[in-house]
Symmetry: C2
Subunit: 351 residues, 2 copies
């Protein structure tokens, strides 16, 4: 839905090394731990004493994880970086370096690729991360982005999925379901556009949910806030597949059950209204819609006082003994078994 | 050219998490620096004091970097890991952890994917590397593998591309050109097979060059040997694109020129004979044929005595002042300008 671009440069015009030089020029490193960035066989990092090194990796693949029709390239680069920064936050850590591999077919222009790099560089600027390695190669078809992020966490405050205990409070940052509603709007407008290419997409008044889908943020601010408050989560995960699926991951890894109260699930007003418009129960969008990249974590009840007044953290339930199962208590006080119905990348997709 | 397999399992049968569980079961970590492997939002590594952390990343894409028709899946997994281990060796370092992302279309079976994982696991066993993260997702078409390797190097013996000085000796491990001849044989037999599918491919007597192409090794043994001999290379790179291209990288990064003697280039007898059979000058195969994954490095002349008797290291020339350019002295004593004509992934490929 973007304007056609003029005077685009064919990828083959620059050659492999020329292209990489072009895309990575002006990249400078800022973290003192980054000894050597782009330009050798490997990036070189000086680890901090008393800290642990974190490594995460994610793949974003065209038509599986994003649709080129409504995804601005710059946002795509930004998101590819941020979803990995979110993995660092999910360990109670901070991202420090990023390495990016892009496979791209010849239908893409140098300018389009540069937009992706610009998005990654922007994310690096916002999160103070160093871009230390970039590899770009041709693919037969489509675009995919493979991102690896290196981060660090204090040895005594790293948060695994497996540390939750019964009675720990289950907390979530921000609000949920917005990214999913953003996706639904984009899919709806795409269908309108495909049926009648002269129709302009109607994206008005939905900025918040669209941004939540197209340009998510990693909650490294919550990591810093918890650290300031002296709270170490007993377990933590980021919400990429929906509250239900991620809570079940924590329960499985920690060998606990849980109770989630539907009424406690934080949902933004725009998300709520749009869910109603689409005929979806808002809490179901929060439980099963993915890509919010909020943090889901458990804390000891002893830490309750320390964060109870933080606006951006909601307590949605608590952990129980594994024998009690995983439950949602609905607004009308009925108990349902928690089920993950989130996106499953390897199920056969409808065409 | 492989036998059709029976009773294959559709990828969608296991679902995303089931598939990852299946592929990564029985993976155990061995390095004491690996605190947490597969199963959380990020791998966790405890860095060694006094060492630097290395990070490298490579993409392998179907029909760009490999041809499924003659690449056994297990070898593909092995190679995907080893080419990144080679990047660690190229920094005078040792690989410790690997993270793998695989994008795969639904035409692949669980068994085929498992073969790739088996190859990666085998490489991890051989090189004592821990498999700490695996992500598998669907692609619209084709197979691609994205590998990130974490390694470490001693602070005072890391070898960049940029440290060579005029008069430093230019050294290469093993022999060159074999992987390229292996590729030529596979391409030749593929054409025969495509013309007449009843013809069996003739791969006899070419085991060495075929293995060099399909199952390369990383020269971490050379890193250990240099360390034992007390030699720190002044610059180093691994040979993925041919001797010419890699030497030019060292010259550019170090701001030097070089002289390479054609007669000093190490070429195995089978490579030599096959090059003749294909009508290629053997030294040209070594200079421009890629994927040998040998190490190319420079040493101070003061270190010459320490390694002059090592069978597996050849001195092929020396570095000069940048103003003298980059030259090859041919067997008949003529001087030619060194040119990189190696594979360039982003040039338009012939179909």
């Amino acid at each position: 839905m973007s304007e056609p671009e003029m005077n685009l440069t064919d990828l083959s015009a620059l050659g492999e090394f020329g292209l990489i030089d072009f895309l990575t020029k002006n990249i400078q490193t800022k973290n003192k731990s980054t000894i050597k960035g782009i330009g050798d066989d490997a990036a070189v990092i000086e680890p901090s004493p008393d800290k642990l090194t974190l490594v995460s990796k994610d793949l974003l693949i065209e038509r599986i994880h994003f649709d080129m029709m409504y995804t601005p390239m710059k946002h795509l680069g930004y998101k590819a970086a941020v979803v990995n920064f979110s993995d660092m936050a999910a360990m109670n850590g901070i991202p420090r370096q990023i390495v990016v591999g892009i496979g791209v077919s010849s239908k893409f222009s140098v300018e389009a690729l540069n937009e992706i790099y610009d998005g990654i560089k922007k994310a690096c600027e916002v999160y103070q991360v160093d871009f230390v390695g970039g590899d770009t190669t041709s693919s037969e078809q489509g675009l995919f982005i493979s991102v690896t992020v290196i981060g660090e966490a204090e040895k005594n405050s790293i948060a695994y999925r497996s540390g939750a205990k019964p009675n720990d409070l289950l907390c979530v940052s921000g609000n949920l379901g917005a990214a999913y509603l953003g996706l639904l709007i984009l899919e709806r407008e795409k269908k309108v556009f495909e049926a009648n290419p002269k129709m302009q997409p109607d994206l008005s008044n939905n900025d918040y949910v669209l941004e939540r889908h197209l340009k998510p943020e990693a909650r490294t601010d919550i990591v810093k806030l918890l650290n300031e408050k002296g709270v170490v989560p007993t377990s933590m995960i980021d919400i990429s597949d929906g509250l239900a699926s991620e809570t079940m991951h924590l329960c499985k890894a920690s060998n606990t059950g849980c109770i989630i109260y539907e009424e406690k699930i934080p949902i933004d007003q725009q998300t709520y209204d749009l869910a109603k418009e689409f005929g979806i129960v808002p809490s179901v969008a929060a439980l099963n819609g993915g890509e919010d990249y909020e943090l889901l974590f458990t804390i000891s009840q002893n830490d309750y006082e320390k964060i109870k007044d933080v606006q951006d953290i909601s307590m949605v339930g608590y952990m129980t003994d594994a024998s009690e199962g995983q439950q949602v208590i609905s607004n009308d006080n009925q108990s349902f078994e928690l089920k993950a119905q989130g996106w499953d990348a390897l199920k056969k997709r409808e065409v």
